[in-house]
Every structure is written in structure tokens, then in C-alpha cells.
């Protein structure tokens, strides 16, 4: 009589194991799927971040092959470094100018070029081409266009009997030029995003509004813009990332000049780490930027959540 018992317990075991296994499997599966991403994030983001934090506590002297633990001295030095303060300010005005301009310009161009006529398709390509150009080409073209002695723009102003404009050699004009070049370079990319967003809007809404007698402006204000809000959020986030990472075009166009007027934080880090050979000090600037960028991202999220885009 013991045999059936044995058999039944063996059956019970064999019937429970696959169930448990599948339970564990279903619990583990999401983690296993996440593992590659988490591992990549850990290796390429978390580890460098921690390594950067460690580096920022040292003063590396490549010239003499030494490194000294200086605790928070690099951060303390940053608070008293006028060049760092200026580059932070420069990054702020650059971002606050470039992001709204890109947003407005890409929406305006996108709305205008929404209809697929041949001329508008050509215009779309025209706006998109600058985005695929290399930053070297963009910067060199603008540098010659804005050259105060031989540039086309100043040549035209002279011909028109007006004075020349120091596009790249006066602090404020250089800032305006850098913003102009950036917006020209990037607007085509964001225009495509707007066009994609516009294609999602039901044309019946416009038709109904037209029948109700809504003007083009009211249709834009009450239909297009509200329904484009998720796209606008994406544009603001991506353009902010673009702006805070701006480096090559500005480096080649003004080299951060004149006298540091267009030197953004990224270039300041580069100069500290690679020209002055103080990598610890350069990394400290990056670490200090981290909470600032988080703050900007948080503010953006709050604003868009209130607007109902999230």
C-alpha cells in the first residue's frame, strides 16, 4: 500500500516543480529582459559617473605624472573661477535663446510646409539639408559669411551704404551669430518632427472648425498647438539636450570668443581637461552640471504635466 503513496508523492513533486519553475520563470523574465539594458547603463553611465566623481576629488598633474587627493578643492575653486561663472551664464542664455527659437521656428515652418506641393517638398529638403551637414562645414560657411572684412553679409551692408556689423568680433553680436547658426543648423530636424506630429491630427477637426467660421489663426491656436503639445515637449527636451551639448560648431565658429563671450560650459570643461591638462577640474565642472541639468529636466516635466502633455 505504500507504493501508491510513493507514487502519489512523486507525482505531486513532478507536478509542482514545473508550476514553481514557471512561476519563478515568469517572475524572473522581466528582470532578464531588463538585464542587458541595465548592464549597459551601469557600465556606460553609472561607472563613468562614479569614476568621474572620484576623479573630481583629485588634482592630476599630467606634466609631472602625479595625482594628489584634494577632496572638494576643485569644487571650491569652481565657485571662485570667473571663467566658469561666465561659461555657465553663456550656457544659460544660449539654451534659453536656442530652445524657444527652435520650437517657434520649427512649428512655423512645419505648419507652413504641411501641404505636399512640389515647391513645399523642395523647401522641406532645403530646411533639412543643414542638419545633415558636418559641423565643420556649417561653422566654416558661417565664418566666411559673417567675416567682418570679406564676408558676404557685411559686403551687402556696405554696398547698401550701411555700416558693417562685427558679427563675430563683438560679444553680443557673436552671441547672436552663434544662436543664428545653431537654429539654422537644427531647425530642419525639428521641422520633421512637427510634420510628423501634424500628420497625426485628424483633418476633420479643421474641416469642422472651418465650417464653424474659425479663422486660420484660431484653428492654429485651438487645434494645432494643443494637439502638438506632446511633440513640443519632445522638441523642448531634445533641443535642450542639443543646446547643453553644443560644442563643435561654436568651437569652430568663434572658438568661444571674443575673449570667452561665447564659451559654453562644455568648451570650458574641454579647455580645463585637455588644454590646461587639469582633468580633475574639468570633471568637477561636469559633476556640478549634473544637478543643474536634473533641475531643468524636472522643471520641464512639471510645466508639461500642468499643460496636460504628460
Amino acid at each position: 500500500m505504500s507504493t501508491p503513496e510513493t507514487i502519489s508523492s512523486a507525482d505531486a513533486k513532478s507536478s509542482l516543480t514545473p508550476a514553481r519553475r514557471s512561476k519563478w520563470g515568469s517572475r524572473l523574465a522581466p528582470y532578464l529582459f531588463l538585464l542587458p539594458t541595465v548592464a549597459m547603463l551601469f557600465i556606460f553611465s553609472i561607472v563613468p559617473l562614479l569614476y568621474g566623481m572620484w576623479m573630481s576629488l583629485y588634482d592630476f598633474d599630467i606634466v609631472h605624472g602625479r595625482s594628489t587627493f584634494v577632496a572638494l578643492q576643485n569644487y571650491w575653486r569652481l565657485l571662485h573661477d570667473p571663467q566658469f561663472g561666465l561659461s555657465l551664464l553663456n550656457t544659460a542664455w544660449y539654451t534659453l535663446s536656442v530652445v524657444p527659437l527652435i520650437l517657434v521656428a520649427s512649428i512655423a515652418i512645419g505648419v507652413y510646409l504641411k501641404k505636399s506641393t512640389v515647391a513645399r517638398l523642395i523647401a522641406r529638403v532645403g530646411f533639412y539639408v543643414p542638419f545633415v551637414l558636418s559641423p565643420v562645414v556649417v561653422a566654416t560657411s558661417w565664418k566666411w559669411l559673417l567675416n567682418e572684412d570679406l564676408g558676404v553679409l557685411d559686403g551687402f551692408l556696405k554696398w547698401a551704404g550701411m555700416g558693417t556689423i562685427p558679427w563675430l568680433t563683438d560679444d553680443n553680436w557673436a552671441r547672436i551669430s552663434v544662436i543664428g547658426a545653431t537654429v539654422w543648423n537644427l531647425v530642419g530636424f525639428y521641422m520633421l518632427m512637427v510634420l510628423a506630429g501634424l500628420s497625426q491630427i485628424n483633418p476633420d477637426l479643421y474641416e469642422a472648425a472651418k465650417i464653424e467660421g474659425a479663422s486660420a489663426w484660431r484653428r492654429l491656436w485651438h487645434i494645432t498647438l494643443p494637439l502638438l503639445t506632446p511633440t513640443m515637449l519632445l522638441i523642448v527636451v531634445l533641443a535642450t539636450i542639443h543646446a547643453t551639448q553644443a560644442f563643435e560648431t561654436i568651437l569652430l565658429l568663434t572658438d568661444g570668443g571674443p575673449a570667452g563671450a561665447t564659451r559654453l560650459i562644455i568648451q570650458n570643461m574641454y579647455v580645463s581637461a585637455f588644454t590646461r591638462l587639469q582633468p580633475g577640474y574639468g570633471v568637477a565642472q561636469a559633476i556640478l552640471m549634473l544637478p543643474l541639468i536634473c533641475l531643468v529636466a524636472w522643471v520641464q516635466m512639471r510645466v508639461f504635466r500642468k499643460a496636460g502633455a504628460l
Partner: protein, 419 residues
Amino acid sequence: MKRLGAAVFVVLIVVQMLGGASSAKTLSVILLSNASTQNVIQGMLKEYHQQHPDIDFEISIIPDSKLLAKLNTLVTAGQFPDIVEVTTAKIQNYAYPALDLAKYTDRNEFLSRYLPGYQPFIVSGDKVIGVQIEATANGLFYNKDLFAKAGVSVPQNENEIWTWEQFKETVQKVMKLPECRMGVAWDCSVQRFSNLIYQANGRWVSANGKSFLPDSQPAENALNFFRGMVAAKLIPTSSWPGKTDGGMLFKTGVAAMLWSGNWQLRGFISGGMPFAFGTTYFPKGAMRATCPGGEFLMGFEHSANHDDAAQVLLWWAQPATTKEYLEKLGGSLLTPMRNQEINYGKYTEYLQPMLSDLAATPTWVSEDLARPVVNLTQDDVLDELILCATGRVSAQKAVVDLRNIGTAELDRENQEVSK
């Protein structure tokens, strides 16, 4: 059958590994992207490989602007390249990890091959840190057509050399021509401005290396002269502070002169210029001076193949190799070596005033230019020079600010050394 297949596979792998181990050693080389020199250097390295089949080279070419980032990343990660090409401004930054060639050859005999004006770049304490493959000197170019139209001549020999004031007056005369839209296209760099400091008999760092801008007066004189040139629009704003390459501006044919260096010659002559141009002597302040420089090959003490790299560098340091390299370049660059006859060919007449300026330049100028602090502070120094040149700070204030910038770096350096 499967086992046999696996065995054959393993044997093949082992043979491949052994074969790989016994084949040529590969030295990693980083060269600067330069249309004039990169192919010739690669050709020379191929020649070395033919003479030494056991040594091969893996060459990466990167632009000068990206060299510091690349090299610093490799150095801090301890992944030293075997050989790297660097310029005057950078070689002394890597003196500490540099391969000491004095360990492989007689130091004094090695150094005696080079002209005294170039030795400071390759010496750091007792170490010999590199091999100079070519020499450069700053030089003054002029547009012959514009000068002829203005009825103005340039100094033809050392007795006719302009003073700073005569130089300024001459440029003003040429600029009266309607077709002359720019006076002196002057590269916006600390090195090019340094010419004036040296001509004023000043220096960036004191002889003992302890203080920055030790003499105020020569520096103030140089700054005042320079800002006078900028204020009078004799130096185009697209050069200072616009940072447009002087050579590009000169090529347009509407600039009277170019304050640059002999490295421009090859591009000007082989590329063809739409006007006749020549070179002349630098004007003199308190004395005559130019800025010597050049390009170097160096190795690293901790690179994987440093002994083999040393042999390559010593091969290049032989006068015959240096001569061959320079003549393959066509003669536009100077020899850094003593008593070496180089056929400069079509460049001879252009190089003559530069060689004269070079001969008149005291050796301490090279020692000064070779100081790491001059390179490490160059961005801040250039910003201050721009502020002064554009009239936003006085020469006196600029000297004080520049001294603060340099002193901070020297203090840091001294602190590090004492630690």
C-alpha cells in the same frame, strides 16, 4: 571524424598564434593630419620597415586640434602609443612620461647634432624627450603687387630692417590703395604675438622659471604697439579677435602682409597664388627675434614597444634621415640640425629672410617658448591679449592680469613638484 576536425582546428589556431608571435612587431604611431607631411612621414616609416622587416607600424592620423584629447586620454589610461608626432607647444607637456632617448645613445653627441635654438624643445632636465623632424620659424610675407602699386619697398638686407614704427607706416601707406582692404593678416595665437614680446626683449617666464612676465616694460611696449595696430585697423578684426586663419586672408590678395610662418610656403606655392608674393625680415623692437618651432616624434617610457620605438627615433635623428625627409617634402621646411646643407629648391629665396631672423634670435627665446606654462595658459592668455588688443583693458592692466594667470599656473606647478 568530429574529433579529428577539432584537433585540426586547434592545431591551426596554435600555428596561427605562433606565426603571429614570430611575425613583425607592430608599433602604434599617431601622426598629425597634415596634407604636406603625413604621406612623407608614412613613406619614411615604410622605408624603416623595409630596412627592419621585424618592425611594422600601425598608423593613426588625427587633426592637431584633437591630439590633446586623444593623447591625454591614452596617457591617463596608461595606454601609451609607441610613437607620436607633436608640435612645439605640446612636447614639453609630456616630458614626464616621455621616453628618454639619452638611455639609448650618448646624450651630448645626440644634442650636438641640433642647432642650439632648437635643443630646448627636446631636453627636459637630463632627459632627451624626442626627435625634431623639421624646424619652423615665424615669417613676414608681403603682397608684391600691392607694394609695387603703392610704390613701397621692403627691406632687401639686414641693414634695411624696419623698426616697429617704420613697419606700421609702411603698412599704412599700402592700405591707402583702394584694393588693399587689410593691412597685416596676423594669426590670432599666443605664439604669433610672442614675436613682439621677444622683439621688445621681454619673455614670458624668467630664466629661473619662477616668475611669469618678469619684466613689465617690454610686455607693455609690445602690447601698446599691437593694440595701436589693431586700433588703426592695420590688423583686420577678422584676424584679431576674429581668429580667421591669416594664410586664408592673405590668399585673397587684398591683404598687404601676413604675419605667420614658413609652413605656409608649400600651400602658397603648390596651390598657386593669384598674385606675386615675397617674404621679408621681421621689424625690430629693442632687438630682432622670431619664434622657432617645429614638429617632433616622441615615445613613451611605458609604451609596449618602447625599446623598438627608441630605435626608430634614433634612426630618424640621423642627419641623413632628417635630410632625406626634408628634401622629400620639397624644401619648404627648415632643418633643425647643425651644419646640414639642405636643398630648399624653389623655397630658397622665401626662406632667406626667415633664416636670417632665426640666426639673430637668442637661444633663450626657444627656452621660453618650450616652458609648459606658456602652453598650459594659452587660452587664458589669448583671451587677455584680445581684451587688450580691442582696447577693453589697458596694456598695464593686461600685464598684471597676464602675470596673475601665469603665476597661478607656476604656483600649481611648483606645489605639485614639491609634493
